[in-house]
């Protein structure tokens, strides 16, 4: 585990871990959840938009590192197989400024096709058609091309899925269309639940997300992520950190956004969320803002997702291996 300003552990955390006596022996023995952070300081062109070729290269770097391979295509072949329908769960609620970037999605689609997934087996999806369109995606459904579809068109499964405190109807796209899902949240804070990253992005798969924001989303976010269709189908999370936001989310607030110019890749959604949360907290501190705990919106659901009942991943910085590329 590396320690530095861009990682999920703070100096205080390191000190506490050492005092607890868990750092050396325990951390070394346990297999760590890998979180890859790829960044490119020269990502943007003169106009400020992300350069598509640089985004692709950065994506390749992240995937190669995560899957420990020299070939981006080989990396993508570990995510999905030909014959599977792959859904990309984007985050478009806030419109173009704070949505999953179309350039990133195009890059992912390109690599998926090169890995043997035809266009017709790629589905870009979110809650509403109008959200997708506001984020720059064109909602179309042609049998031979990449599909873009909102749950308002696809509908929801008839059967209620229940876990803990959560009971929801799941998107038909998730349940009946996709074999595999790549989760594409955006690195941003959330005005009620603290942060909205890998775990929270799956609220876009249920029919009643409004019911699960009380108590800062705890334990609901964790309970929703226990739904079998989500646990079994989400293969990977690539957090869009090209433009990140540390305050005012989920709405797009340009005054509180910054060009992080990065991607965060993980299979462990809890580790990714913990890492992303720490990045946002550090930015908030840099800007003189209070930590989320003091604003009563600490994302406690992250710890709940890691607890013995859920075991969706780890939020222990000693067990998270952050790799920067």
């Amino acid at each position: 585990m590396r320690v530095g300003p861009h990682h999920g552990i703070t100096r205080r955390g390191l000190l506490q871990a050492s005092l607890a006596g868990t750092f050396a022996a325990g951390a070394a023995a346990a297999e760590k959840s890998k979180v890859v952070i790829a960044r490119d300081p020269a990502l943007r062109g003169a106009g400020g938009s992300a350069d598509s070729s640089r985004v692709l290269k950065m994506l390749d770097r992240a995937m190669q590192s995560f899957y420990d391979t020299d070939s981006p295509i080989d990396a993508w072949k570990k995510v999905a197989r030909p014959g599977e329908v792959v859904g990309l769960k984007v985050n478009c609620l806030s419109g173009k400024g704070a949505a999953t970037n179309t350039v990133l999605v195009e890059a992912i689609c390109e690599r998926l096709q090169q890995a043997g997934i035809p266009q017709k087996d790629i589905v870009i999806w979110d809650r509403l058609n109008s959200d997708l369109e506001s984020a720059g995606y064109r909602v179309v459904s042609r049998p031979d091309r990449i599909r873009y579809i909102g749950n308002d068109t696809a509908g929801y499964d008839n059967e209620l899925t229940v876990n803990g405190s959560a009971g929801s109807l799941l998107s038909n796209t998730l349940v009946h269309t996709c074999d595999a899902v790549i989760n594409l949240p955006v690195l941003k804070d959330h005005g009620i639940v603290g942060v909205t990253l890998a775990l929270k992005n799956l609220f876009g798969a249920i029919h009643n997300p409004n019911k699960y924001h009380t108590n800062a989303g705890d334990p609901y976010v964790a309970d929703v992520n226990m739904f079998p269709a989500i646990r079994q189908k989400v293969r990977l999370t690539i957090c869009d950190a090209l433009t990140a936001q540390y305050e005012g989310g989920p709405s797009y607030m340009p005054q509180w956004s910054w060009s992080y110019n990065g991607l965060i890749v993980a299979r462990d959604p809890v580790a990714l969320d913990y890492t992303g949360w720490q990045i946002l907290e550090r930015k908030r501190a840099e800007k003189g803002m209070k930590p989320l705990r003091e604003l009563h919106r600490e994302p406690l659901y992250i710890a709940t997702a890691a607890d013995a009942r859920h075991r969706l991943g780890t939020n222990d910085p000693n067990l998270i291996g952050v790799v920067e590329v």
Binding site: D152, H207, G248
Partner: protein, 365 residues
């Protein structure tokens, strides 16, 4: 009632969900909210006081912030409509034997794990088929179907308050009364406006414990008790229903606490209905309420001095009927939702002239 019967009843075109979502007729500016910086709003309709970002919705799922203005998305957006006996609400001291034209929109501001109408209460309006029934049409339909009252029910009328207020006014103008069937989770100002427009309110008091409200309802007890106290002060006729759920809200202590509070704060004449639970939604693991439990609840409340304690969802039980608290004879005989006989004269027991509070034959007694 299936969709075909619904359409035939209304003789109005049904609107597919997708088209309805785009229909601006259902969208009106909300009446109870305040604007905040950065295009946020704070809803002031219910105690949740949701603070909502632009493009987001409140907990209820049927109100949306659009560019800093808050909108109801369910104005006249009826997703359920039936002609029901008034006893089904249940309202036992309100026009007995009459029919109520009963309507609902999608949405609710709580999430009761035992909700029997979750397929409309826990969804967004675009997730159910709806029909546009503006207030005047609703009043007219009520009259056409020989219903002396409109009942706003099934889901949670608080979340479609604008529609209730306007429809109640339209109904009153043509001699149709309005009744609200609600969980009572509402702020005082909108509640007072409702009280001024409607003729009766039945409150579902889910339990008499904070713990239940937190864990099973995702709400709060105190605001509902405040609602009942306010309704009483406003002079609107009201009745209380308590759905008894085995192991969760069926203790003697709770029943006793409930009875004492009602007697103290609302008076002994408020009808209290103990209703039988049936497994549903997120509480399918519990059994239906045993009859002895309901009878125990009634016995405790009777002993505490409440005059009109009923047992519901048990067709044929003697506690479905209204008994004069003075002479102990049946003054309204019921079997299920059917009223078999009424022994009241001008709101008084025919046998001993005891005043039986309620709204009988249109007049408030």
């Amino acid at each position: 009632m299936d969709r075909r019967a619904f359409v035939q009843l209304l003789a109005l075109p049904a609107v597919a969900a997708r088209a309805a979502d785009a229909d601006a007729r259902f969208t009106v500016e909300a009446r109870f909210y305040e604007k905040l910086p950065y295009k946020k709003i704070k809803c002031k309709l219910c105690p949740r006081e949701c603070v909502i970002d632009d493009r987001e919705r409140g907990y209820c799922g049927v109100r949306e912030n659009r560019g800093g203005t808050y909108y109801s998305l369910v104005y006249a957006r009826v997703c359920a409509a039936h002609v029901d006996p008034i006893e089904k609400k249940p309202l036992f001291h309100f026009l007995p034997g009459s029919m109520a034209f009963s309507v609902a929109t999608a949405g609710c501001n709580v999430n009761c794990k035992m909700c029997q109408n979750w397929d409309i209460s826990q969804v967004r309006p675009e997730q159910v088929n709806s029909t546009y029934i503006p207030p005047k049409d609703l009043a007219a339909l009520s009259r056409q179907n020989q219903c002396p009252s409109i009942a706003y029910t099934y889901s949670e009328p608080v979340v479609f308050s604008e529609y209730v207020l306007d429809s109640a006014a339209a109904g009153r103008a043509v001699g149709v009364k309005s009744v609200v069937i609600s969980g009572g989770y509402i702020q005082e100002e909108p509640l007072k406006q409702l009280c001024a427009r409607v003729d009766a309110i039945k409150i579902d008091l889910k339990a008499f414990s904070d713990k239940f409200y937190k864990e099973v309802v995702n709400g709060e007890l105190k605001p509902v008790l405040n609602t009942l106290a306010t309704i009483r002060k406003q002079g609107t006729w009201h009745e209380v229903v308590y759905l008894v759920i085995p192991t969760l809200n069926d203790s003697d202590e709770e029943f006793r606490g409930l009875a004492r509070w009602i007697k103290s704060e609302l008076g002994p004449d408020v009808p209290l209905h103990f209703s039988r639970f049936h497994p549903e939604y997120l509480l399918k693991n519990l059994p239906p309420t045993p009859l002895p439990t309901l009878e125990r609840a009634k016995a405790i409340c009777d002993a505490e001095g409440l005059h009109y304690v009923y047992i519901g969802n048990v067709p044929g039980h003697p506690a479905e009927s209204t008994w004069c608290p003075q002479c102990r004879r049946v003054v309204v005989e019921r079997a299920g939702f059917t009223v078999r006989a009424v022994h009241l004269d001008g709101g008084k027991c025919r046998f001993c002239q005891q005043v039986i509070p309620g709204i009988w034959d249109g007049a408030r007694i």
